[in-house]
Every structure is written in structure tokens, then in C-alpha cells.
């Protein structure tokens, strides 16, 4: 009897289908290999790849909040850059206070100072995110046009307030002692700070994946992205969930701001809006609403920007736009389209 029972026929995926499905993931190593071939010199390739990964991770930190907010509530926040800037300014202020901790060459003390600065920045931007959501975004749910305009207005106000509080000049601050300089492996030099950036970004990505895939909140967020009304009908207050996500996204932008500020060692009131260009490109490449896509997009943009800056500095500026165009020609909704026609 058991011989004749009907079994569901599971067709094995052919290798070709598997490759096509996994191609977005393979893009990053493919780009790295292409970079190696184009650059030729392995030592500079290692340096550039590390720089690209670090840059990608920082962009990912800033972009992840934006993409989840969009996925969950169909809200696009053009003022996201304000959180980046505010985070950077708060972080720098705290680091300047903790000058005694950043000057001595003790790894623990330096890292502690950076950690405190990051925490302060995240708390401030998180609270700011709360205010931003309540005051600016909440009245315009579901109206894209007004959202874009109002969040843009919020960005203008935030930038001007930074001028009022911190003054109009840019602020310089050197990195803590032990995070300066580079590790030399063979002939390749990798800046220490970039290693820190890569590790923070990686931990964050894995943490986010874990939260989204294996916790109850994550389940609700994913369900909300899929069908918000249904989640509400089941008795969950999606607005509250959204507020939480918005605050987290803002705090992450603040974290990204501190990291970017330390990377550049100079911050200005309009740094946020400058970075937002990159963040938007990444979010579009990844597919609006997708964390994985955002991660891959950020790494691609980071690597490509660094490779082309080395190979052809003039082209570097438009290379990321070119990447976006190519990806959108291939997949008009981005690498991982999450948000269906809303």
C-alpha cells in the first residue's frame, strides 16, 4: 500500500533556477572579483575592499531604518538625514566631554568612550524620532505627496536648529587614540576604524535578521509589511508597533551618524542630506522595505564607490547612479521587492 500512496511531487530546483534566485546574494562577491581583476594589485585591492565594506556597513546602518519604516507603514521619510546629523553632533559633543577617555592609548577606555557616545546619540535620536513621528509624520499617513513635503520641511527645521544649537561652523574631532592608524597585513593596510565599522555593521545585520525572523515583534513587523490591515484586524495596534520601528530606525540613523562622523572626522549641519543621496540609492537598489536587499545594496554601493574612486576618480561620482540604473533595468522593483503594489 505504501508503494502506491500518492506523494506530493517535489520538483528539484535546477542549478540554473537556484543561481538565478541567489544571484542578488552573489553580486557582492562577483563585484569584489571584478574589482580584483580590474585593479590587479592584491594589496591595494584588500585595502579598497575593506574600505568599501566599511562604507557599505555604515550606509546600511543608516538605510535599514528607512527601508523598514517604508515597508511597514508606507511612509518615506525624507527627513531621515536629520537623524544622521543630530546623531553625529550629539556623539561628537559627548566624545569631546570624554576627552580624558579618548586621548590615552587604552583600547578599553577608547571603546567605552565611543560606546557611550553612540548610546547617547541613539537615545537622543530615538526620542527625536518619537517627536518626529508624532508631530510631523502622523497627520499625513497614506498621503505620499504630503509626506515627502512635510518630512522635507522637518529636515529644513532640524538643520536650522543644529545651526542654532551648535553654531554654523563644521566640527572637527580626531578619532580615539587606539582607533587611529592601520593594521598592516602583508602589503595591505587596513584602517582599524574600518574593521570596527565592519564588525558593528555585521553584528547589527545579524541582530536585525534575528529579531525579524525569530521574535514575536519581528513576526508582527513582517506581517505588517505583508498586510497591515490584517494585523490590525487580529487585534494588534500596528500604530504602536510602527512608532517603535520608527524610533528604532531613527536611533540607528543616529548610530550611523556617529560612525560616519568618526570616519570623516568632520561633521557639518548638512552632512545628513548629503548622505541621504547614497542612502536612497541603496534603498532603491535593495527594493523598498527589504532589509536583506538594503544590506546587499549598501555593500555593492560601498565597494563600487571605492573601486571606481581608485580606478577612475571622475567616474566614481556617477558610478553608483549607474549601478542603480543597471539594477533597476534588471529588476524594476529592486533586488528584493517586498512591498507589493500599495
Amino acid at each position: 500500500m505504501s508503494d502506491t500512496s500518492i506523494r506530493p511531487k517535489m520538483e528539484r530546483e535546477t542549478l540554473r533556477d537556484l543561481l538565478i534566485r541567489k544571484l542578488p546574494v552573489l553580486l557582492v562577491p562577483l563585484l569584489a572579483i571584478a574589482g580584483l581583476l580590474a585593479i590587479g594589485n592584491p594589496a591595494s585591492w584588500v585595502t579598497l575592499t575593506a574600505a568599501g565594506l566599511a562604507m557599505g556597513m555604515m550606509i546600511f546602518i543608516m538605510a535599514s531604518g528607512l527601508t523598514v519604516v517604508f515597508g511597514l507603514m508606507d511612509v518615506i521619510n525624507f527627513g531621515h538625514g536629520a537623524f544622521v546629523t543630530v546623531g553625529a553632533f550629539v556623539g561628537f559633543t559627548v566624545l569631546a566631554w570624554l576627552g580624558g577617555w579618548t586621548a590615552p592609548p587604552s583600547v578599553m577606555m577608547n571603546l567605552a568612550a565611543v560606546l557611550i557616545a553612540i548610546l547617547a546619540a541613539m537615545v537622543v535620536t530615538g526620542l527625536l524620532g518619537y517627536a518626529f513621528e508624532r508631530v510631523i509624520v502622523m497627520p499625513v499617513y497614506g498621503q505620499h505627496l504630503k509626506q515627502i513635503l512635510v518630512t522635507m520641511g522637518g529636515l529644513i527645521i532640524a538643520q536650522q536648529m543644529i545651526h542654532v544649537i551648535w553654531g554654523p561652523d563644521e566640527i572637527h574631532l580626531s578619532r580615539p587614540e587606539t582607533l587611529q592608524g592601520a593594521l598592516v597585513i602583508g602589503e595591505a593596510a587596513i584602517e582599524k576604524y574600518r574593521l570596527l565599522a565592519v564588525s558593528i555593521g555585521l553584528v547589527l545585520f545579524l541582530g536585525m535578521r534575528h529579531v525579524l525572523k525569530h521574535t514575536r515583534v519581528g513576526l508582527l513587523v513582517r506581517a505588517g509589511v505583508e498586510n497591515g490591515e490584517m494585523v490590525e484586524a487580529l487585534g494588534y495596534r500596528i500604530r504602536r508597533l510602527f512608532l517603535l520601528v520608527f524610533m528604532t530606525g531613527s536611533a540607528l540613523a543616529g548610530l550611523g551618524g556617529v560612525m560616519w562622523g568618526l570616519y570623516q572626522e568632520t561633521i557639518t549641519a548638512h552632512m545628513g542630506s548629503d548622505i541621504m543621496v547614497m542612502v536612497f540609492i541603496v534603498v532603491i537598489i535593495g527594493g523598498l522595505g527589504s532589509v536583506e536587499g538594503c544590506f546587499i545594496g549598501a555593500l555593492l554601493v560601498g565597494l563600487l564607490a571605492n573601486y571606481t574612486a581608485f580606478l577612475a576618480p571622475k567616474v566614481a561620482l556617477i558610478s553608483t547612479i549607474g549601478l542603480m540604473v543597471v539594477i533597476l533595468m534588471w529588476r524594476p522593483q529592486g533586488l528584493y521587492p517586498v512591498v507589493k503594489a500599495k
Binding site: I76, L145, L149, P168
Partner: protein, 357 residues
């Protein structure tokens, strides 16, 4: 006749009519009513920005598309004229073909961006244009062999349009009618014509369809209008108008640089002008531009006085410092999006309708 000239889109509000007439008369006789270089500069700026902002309203107010690349098209037009004039020297022929070439390039760019990003989602367009426009601005400042980089281009325009040229020997109403006044009238007439053309466009069947697409794209598609085609055409039209405004600026200033045409600040200014004046009506652009530029030029003096007066209160004086005028316009902008999304013109028209006119 007048209604025909305005394409049937009359102001429909007494107060609005008065304001518009006031602005029209002031601009038409600006060299004689407000003698002096600064006020003539302001008047010309208002004319050019009315075209620029109206063309943006064509996109934002009528088609419901948010673009951040409007300064890019403005810049393309300005650089088209500037490059033609600096390549071949002063003359009307390069002036015309530079302007036309700028408009064509802008149209091609707009077509490419529109076809590419408007198919998916309107919100994509906002992000894509932001990215493209900033890349374009950086590119222009980098390609210094062509565009003069950050310094921009200085060039000569036909002699009849420069202050050195005297049209009549004597003075008219105490003002020497020199080439600068002629140049102003070139800007003024061109702006007026372009504005009336845009008024014609938005009041044509095409304009009505655009509004339908804006209000309910799904239904418009269902009725049988090709939404993508309408949106892309609106983008191209508004880009061409912006490029022509850019050419006017290039002729007026005799200088073209990234700061005067491509900067993000100008994009934000345009956004503020459209929203405060009133989206979805071209008269909103007229009022918004006039108020904004007058505020930009004269509000700062007023705020300086306020800052002096409150100099003993630390935070307040920082808030009302003349450099912070954008802060208050930002607040006004957010408030107007919430409370009167139709802007000043929409408000005035509502009042007129309520009082039973």
C-alpha cells in the same frame, strides 16, 4: 479677450485679482517705479522664478509628482546658453541655439528619467531624481574644463543688452534707458509669454487629464488614459520650461555657476514657494515667488532688528538672527502643508466662494 489670454482660468477672487494686478504692474514698470540696481535685480529674479516655480507646479500641483531634479533642468538651460555664448562670443545666434539646445537636452533627460522611474511608483521618482540631481551637480563642479567648475562661467552677451548701450539719449521719467533695462524687458516679456503658455497647458484637456491622474491614477487608467504617458509628458514639459527659465537667468546674470542654478538650496526654495503660494494653481507660483523673494531680500533686515532687540535673551536672539530666516520659513512650510495645503491662493479662492461671489 482677456479671459482668452488667461485660458479661461481667471483668478476668481477679488483680493487675488488685486494682488496679481499689483505684481504685474510693479514688474511691468519696475525700472521706472523702483529705480536702482538692487530692486531691478530683485524684479528680474522674481520674473525668472515665476516661470521656474510655475513649471514646478505643473509637475507637483497638477501631476502630483515630486521631483528633486528641477534645479538640474534649470541648470541645463542656463549652462546651455552660457556654453554657447562663451564658445562663440556675444551674438544672438549662439544665444538662441544655446537656449534651444539646453531645452532639448533637458527634455531628453526628463524623458529618460520619467520613462525609467515613473512606471514603478511616484515615490521612486522623488528618490531617483534626488540622486540624479545631486550626481549632476557634483559632475558639473568637477568637469571644470567644460563648465568652469565651482567658479562657473563668465561670458559676454550681445551689446544691446548691456548697461553700456544707450537706447535713447535722454532720460525717461528720470531713468536712463540703457541695455540693462532692455535686458530686463526681454526677461519680463519672455517670462510673461512662458507663463501664459503654461496657463494654456494646464487649462487644456491635457491639464484636466493630468489632474485626474493626480487624484486617482487607478481610475484614470481604467477609463483608458495611459497614466505613464501623461506623467512623463508633464515631466518633459516642466523640464523644458525650467530650462528656458535657466536660459533667462543666464542672459540676465551674464554668469552661470553651480551656486546660482544647481544647488540644493534653490530646490528647497522652489518647494517652499510652490507650497506657500498654493499647489495646483499657477497663480500660487506668482504669489509664492513674490512673497518669498521679498522676504529673502527684506525679511532678513527685519529679523536683524528683532535680534538686536532681544540680544539679552540668549536662545531667542539666536532663533531670530537674520541667518535663521529659513527656519521660520520651514515652520511656515510645514504648517501650510497641514493646515492650508492649497496655499494662499487656495485660501483666497475659498473665501471668495464662501462669500458667494
Amino acid at each position: 479677450m482677456l479671459t482668452r489670454l488667461l485660458s479661461g482660468d481667471t483668478p476668481r477672487s477679488g483680493i487675488l485679482t488685486v494682488f496679481l494686478l499689483l505684481i504685474l504692474i510693479s514688474l511691468a514698470f519696475a525700472p521706472f517705479l523702483f529705480p536702482g540696481t538692487k530692486s531691478l535685480e530683485t524684479a528680474a529674479r522674481i520674473c525668472i522664478f515665476i516661470v521656474l516655480v510655475a513649471s514646478y507646479d505643473l509637475l507637483l500641483g497638477y501631476a502630483g509628482i515630486v521631483s528633486f531634479a528641477h534645479t538640474m533642468f534649470f541648470g541645463i538651460g542656463a549652462y546651455g546658453t552660457a556654453l554657447a555664448l562663451s564658445a562663440t562670443g556675444a551674438g544672438y545666434f549662439p544665444l538662441v541655439w544655446g537656449t534651444v539646445a539646453g531645452a532639448i537636452v533637458a527634455a531628453i533627460f526628463a524623458l529618460a528619467i520619467g520613462l525609467f522611474s515613473l512606471r514603478v511608483k511616484a515615490i521612486f521618482f522623488a528618490m531617483v531624481t534626488l540622486a540624479v540631481a545631486s550626481a549632476f551637480a557634483v559632475l558639473v563642479s568637477q568637469l571644470s574644463w567644460l563648465t568652469g567648475g565651482e567658479d562657473g562661467l563668465n561670458y559676454r552677451i550681445p551689446r544691446e543688452l548691456t548697461p553700456a548701450f544707450k537706447l535713447i539719449g535722454g532720460k525717461v521719467f528720470g531713468v536712463t534707458v540703457n541695455g540693462k533695462v532692455l535686458a530686463y524687458y526681454l526677461v519680463f516679456v519672455a517670462s510673461l509669454v512662458l507663463f501664459l503658455i503654461m496657463l494654456r497647458i494646464v487649462n487644456s484637456p491635457f491639464g484636466s487629464t493630468l489632474k485626474a491622474v493626480r487624484d486617482n491614477a487607478f481610475r484614470a487608467e481604467a477609463i483608458g488614459y495611459r497614466v505613464v504617458w501623461y506623467r512623463t509628458t508633464a515631466t518633459v514639459l516642466s523640464a523644458v520650461m525650467a530650462a528656458l527659465a535657466g536660459s533667462l537667468l543666464a542672459i540676465w546674470l551674464r554668469y552661470t555657476g553651480p551656486a546660482t542654478t544647481l544647488s540644493m538650496e534653490i530646490m528647497i526654495d522652489i518647494l517652499l514657494m510652490v507650497v506657500i503660494g498654493g499647489m495646483g494653481t499657477l497663480y500660487g507660483a506668482v504669489l509664492g515667488v513674490t512673497l518669498f523673494i521679498l522676504a529673502q531680500t527684506y525679511l532678513q533686515d527685519f529679523m536683524g532688528v528683532a535680534a538686536e532687540a532681544t540680544s539679552s535673551v540668549p536662545l531667542v536672539s539666536a532663533l531670530v538672527a537674520p541667518e535663521r530666516w529659513l527656519l521660520w520659513l520651514g515652520v511656515l512650510f510645514v504648517l501650510s502643508v497641514y493646515f492650508f495645503p492649497t496655499g494662499i491662493v487656495g485660501r483666497l479662492r475659498e473665501r471668495a466662494r464662501a462669500s458667494g461671489r
